[in-house]
């Protein structure tokens, strides 16, 4: 194989990894856009999605046998529902009562939720890595199409396709629906939004639920891609996704996608040049560089400070 096609393959890997980061980063950036707070438990919601999918597949295979497409599709659905439930619980427990408190308070309680969820899975599910059932992921990971001299697996196509569909849907939801208008109004001014009859509490809860469901999709994709489920996966991916959200300008949805793509490509190129163990170092270098040159992120705009 020529080096040119290796580079293209690396780039495709980078873009599909970036797409996964983008799905997680959206959750961070939406919550930040609406509440102005970091949702530190978001990575753990992603991890819950991974495990919920595998549990669902296990239950279905006991209940009615191994039907790949049916069980996988239902597993994805269950993962989204479970992650949404955990995201909602996180909002109710860690955020709602502390919304008007000092900024450190909800952040700290979210770190508490995140630590709790990690070690809950560590103690109840598995201390070691769990593999994704290959019977289900093989169809997606071992089949590939040949395009312009490189092999693209079905899974990579699925990740890219799903991400594009979700981004389009999200763009439509935020810009052209009543919910989107309410969401943007809540982000601008919660008090004014509630005065004109927008149910602020419900809008904020729905933001958490939406972000968590997207994280679950990313979780299932990553667990198939890497074939590893582990209790601290949420921390690792969450850190990357959060960095991506900051790179693009936190609170800005297209920015999160752009940042995630840059991060995915950086990682892929680092893996090619130095080896995958240096990924975290290059990520940090990119973050510092962007913060030095464009302190508000690539697409972030200057906002006036409020007293």
């Amino acid at each position: 194989m020529s080096s040119g096609s290796t580079l293209t393959e690396i780039l495709i890997n980078g873009v599909s990894r970036g797409a996964v980061y983008a799905l997680v980063a959206l959750g961070y950036t939406m919550v930040y856009g609406v509440l102005g707070m970091i949702n530190f438990a978001h990575g753990e919601v992603f991890m819950i999605g991974m495990f919920a999918c595998v549990y669902a597949i296990g239950i279905f295979s006991v209940a009615w046998g191994n039907h790949v497409l049916l069980n996988l599709g239902l597993g994805l659905l269950v993962a989204m529902i479970f992650s949404a439930g955990y995201g909602y619980a996180n909002e109710r427990i860690a955020y709602r009562r502390l919304r008007k408190a000092h900024a450190l308070a909800p952040l700290t309680s979210a770190i508490g939720i995140s630590t709790f969820l990690q070690y809950f899975i560590f103690l109840t599910v598995s201390k070691q890595n769990v593999g994704f059932p290959r019977y289900y992921s093989d169809m997606l990971t071992s089949n590939h199409i040949h395009l312009g001299g490189v092999d693209i697996t079905y899974l990579q196509i699925a990740i890219l396709g799903l991400t594009i569909v979700i981004m389009t849907g999200l763009f439509y939801l935020i810009h052209f629906t009543r919910f989107g208008i309410a969401l943007r109004a809540t982000a601008q001014d919660q008090l004014m939004a509630s005065l004109v009859g927008i149910p602020v509490d419900r809008i904020i809860a729905f933001t958490f639920i939406l972000g968590s469901a997207l994280a679950a999709i990313a979780g299932v994709m990553v667990s198939m891609y890497d074939n590893v489920l582990v209790f601290d996966a949420g921390y690792r991916v969450g850190l990357k996704a959060f960095t991506a959200a900051i790179l693009g300008g936190i609170g800005n949805i297209p920015g999160a996608v752009l940042g995630a793509m840059i991060l995915g490509l950086t990682e892929a190129l680092t893996t090619l040049g130095f080896g995958s163990e240096w990924n975290d170092v290059s990520t940090f270098a990119v973050l510092m560089l962007v913060l030095l040159l464009r302190p508000r992120g690539l697409l972030g705009e200057r906002v006036a400070d409020k007293v």
Binding site: L98, H102, G112, I113, R134, L239, F284
Partner: protein, 424 residues
């Protein structure tokens, strides 16, 4: 009745549904077919709740204490008894000085393992004090504090390996200034911004630093570095190395408390508090916000680096484990538990969070060795205490959430932060 309890019942029901598969079912990989099945594992869930039973006991005790306090008001009565009221000013400010000879004399009658444990407590107290400057006093969140701790430790380890003579008393002050410099450089790009950028930049720094030292050859990779005995705390003037370590840690701790308290009550400290309360308002009355934030952050980074040197000199061995994310979160939990913005609170939190798990780990053997205790404590409870160290992080998470909801100012939080952190 029903309308009052309904949200709680619904919440518990929701949580039961959400945790159901993870608690009551167990994953079974099927390697012949490469699939996954689940099996019913009620025993697993019961064991989980059984292991948590000491916590439920503790929660019940706290609830009973609160209830009886509401009913009989004993805490106010206690505070108003003349013995406490009249002497309150005595044990608020100057008890540290009275404690000094007491603490230092401890070096001469403690066992080696006790000295080791309390030196560790001292190091964590130093870290909590340092982190309290940024998180508690200035209101900036730092999530990668252990990165600076690791920086100090590795600076010491590398320098003593490179130079033939590089003892701890040379490394400590040098690490203090170098750590401060690193903090300054790291803070420079992100402290100009509002919001929580510092949190993520420090977290990224700590992770990148850990990965870097875990992969480089000169730092020994994951295996770590063993320090020369000439550089570490060794016996001197008839005292053992452990005693020297304890005394040095205690003296550094007293110095740090003194300096931080003086700073806190100086114009600098007032500027920090002003920034914490309202950054824009502080800037508008002429507080140099960026400089003050940088000063707070570099100072806390410097303290962590110095603590890293003390750790290296005490332990004689350094590995990338010193700057894991868990370490950062542990120190943060100490500051939050003890009381944001209060130096003594941070130290109390450090002592509690380090010593309680240590003693809990020792508890089962203590119960077994003592005939009286083993007669009283039922066996299932002592078995549960054995697993409690596994559950430490789970409890950390719970404690952090519960503290934020019910006592956001921490155990000894300053009164000023209490009014501010409560939901208005």
């Amino acid at each position: 009745m029903s309308s009052r309890w309904r949200p709680y019942l619904l919440g518990i029901l929701g949580l039961a549904i959400l945790t159901f598969p993870f608690l009551w079912l167990q994953l079974r990989p099927d390697f012949t077919e490469n699939t996954m099945t689940v099996t019913w594992a009620p025993w697993h869930a019961l064991q989980f709740f059984g292991n948590l039973s000491p916590i439920f006991l503790l929660a019940l005790l706290i609830w009973a204490g609160n209830w009886s306090n509401r009913r009989f008001g004993w805490s106010r009565a206690l505070a108003q008894t003349p013995a406490f009221e009249k002497t309150a000013h005595l044990w608020q400010g100057y008890w540290a000085w009275a404690a000094m000879p007491l603490v230092l004399s401890g070096a001469f009658f403690m066992s080696a393992s006790g000295l080791n444990m309390f030196t560790n407590v001292g190091i964590y107290m130093l870290l909590a004090l340092g982190l309290n400057i940024t998180v508690g006093m200035t209101g900036l969140l730092v999530l990668g504090y252990a990165g600076f701790y690791g920086f100090g430790a590795y600076f010491f380890a590398l320098a003593q390996g490179y130079f033939s003579f590089f003892p701890w008393w040379l490394a400590g002050p040098l690490a203090f200034f170098l750590g401060g410099g690193v903090g300054y450089l790291l803070g420079l790009p992100c402290l100009r911004l509002r919001g929580d950028y510092l949190a993520i930049v420090t977290l990224g720094f700590a992770e990148a630093f850990r990965v870097l030292i875990g992969n480089l050859d000169i730092t020994g990779g994951q295996k770590g570095i063993i320090l020369h005995t000439s550089a570490t705390f060794h016996g001197f003037a008839g005292m053992r190395g452990g005693q020297i370590a304890f005394i040095v840690t205690a003296l550094v701790l007293f110095l740090a408390v003194f300096l931080i308290q003086r700073l806190y009550h100086s114009p600098v400290g007032r500027a920090w508090i002003a920034i914490r309360e309202n950054e824009v308002a502080a800037a508008s009355v002429g507080v140099p916000v960026v400089q003050m934030k940088l000063l707070a952050f570099s100072l806390s980074a410097a303290i962590a680096a110095a603590a890293g040197v003390i750790y290296g000199a005490m332990d004689g061995f350094i590995s990338p484990e010193v700057c894991t994310f868990q370490q950062s979160i542990m120190v943060l939990a100490m500051v939050i538990l003890g009381g944001l913005g209060n130096s003594y609170g941070a130290m109390l939190g450090a002592a509690l969070l380090y010593l309680v798990p240590e003693y809990l780990q020792l508890l089962p053997s203590t119960i077994q060795n003592s005939t009286a205790l083993s007669a009283i404590v039922p066996p299932f409870l002592s078995g549960a205490f054995q697993h409690l160290s596994d559950y430490r992080w789970l409890l950390f998470g719970m404690v952090m959430v519960i503290m934020m909801l019910y006592r956001p100012q921490g155990l000894l939080g300053s009164r000023r932060i209490k009014t501010e952190m409560r939901a208005s």
